[in-house]
């Protein structure tokens, strides 16, 4: 079974402070991990995926297979980063590639 855990429902930081949104996963095979973001009144959109290893809007995430984690980080938070962030997992091979989501973390960046 696949499971994604995001332990923080709400994370509040000041503008300019570092951000780390935690994500741990459980899956017996090879997973692909994603971070999706949902800004207020907007649709879910992909922020980044571990396979592409890129930085989007200053965010990075490294897959740590030993710790089964995929934490999202940004060195300096901006006000426009305030949003709901979802970590998600899909098996790399086989099937319909359904996404299994965590419960999400609401990031609030305060001035």
């Amino acid at each position: 079974a696949q499971r994604v855990t995001q332990p923080e429902k709400l994370l509040s930081v000041f503008k300019g402070a570092p951000v780390e949104l935690k994500c741990n996963y459980s899956y017996s095979g090879s997973p692909e991990l994603f971070w999706y973001v949902q800004y207020s009144r907007q649709r879910l959109q992909l922020l980044l995926r571990h396979i592409s290893r890129e930085s989007i809007k200053g965010f990075t995430a490294d897959l740590n297979k030993g710790e089964t984690s995929f934490h999202l980080k940004k060195p300096f938070a901006q006000e426009e980063d305030s949003a709901m962030y979802y970590c998600a997992l899909t098996p790399i091979t086989g099937g319909g590639n359904k996404l299994t989501f965590g419960t999400g973390t609401q990031l609030k960046v305060e001035l």
Partner: protein
């Protein structure tokens, strides 16, 4: 940039009624999905659809649910006899490729909020 669209944005229905939620996936995409999110809970997978048939479904997707691609553009989710617990936001998503090693990005629609009274 092409987007997944969903209609209606909000649907209110009486318990026991049938509802059809509509989605227009991105035109060259081959894989289609429905997810739902009950208020305050996580986004949950319902069903995936490829090559005009269901490729995977969750245990939530029981006999009350069905999906259809009635023409070349629409992808629908039907709930035959709605229950109070079906109240949720329903998201459609689509993906370009047909599976295999790795997975391409799933693009989500804005969602339909279903309220069952």
């Amino acid at each position: 940039e092409p987007e997944v669209t969903q209609t209606p944005s909000h649907q209110v229905t009486q318990m026991g009624q049938e509802v059809i939620l509509r989605c227009v996936p991105i035109s060259n995409h081959l894989y289609f999905y429905w997810y739902r999110q009950i208020l305050g809970q996580k986004v949950e997978f319902l069903v995936s659809f490829y090559n005009n048939e269901i490729s995977e479904k969750s245990e939530i997707f029981d006999d009350q649910f069905s999906v259809e691609r009635p023409d070349g553009s629409n992808f629908t989710l039907k709930i035959r006899s709605t229950k109070l617990e079906d109240s949720a936001m329903y998201f459609c998503a689509s993906r370009e490729t047909g599976g295999g090693q790795g997975s391409d990005t799933q693009y989500f629609g804005p969602g339909t909020r279903l309220t069952v009274l």
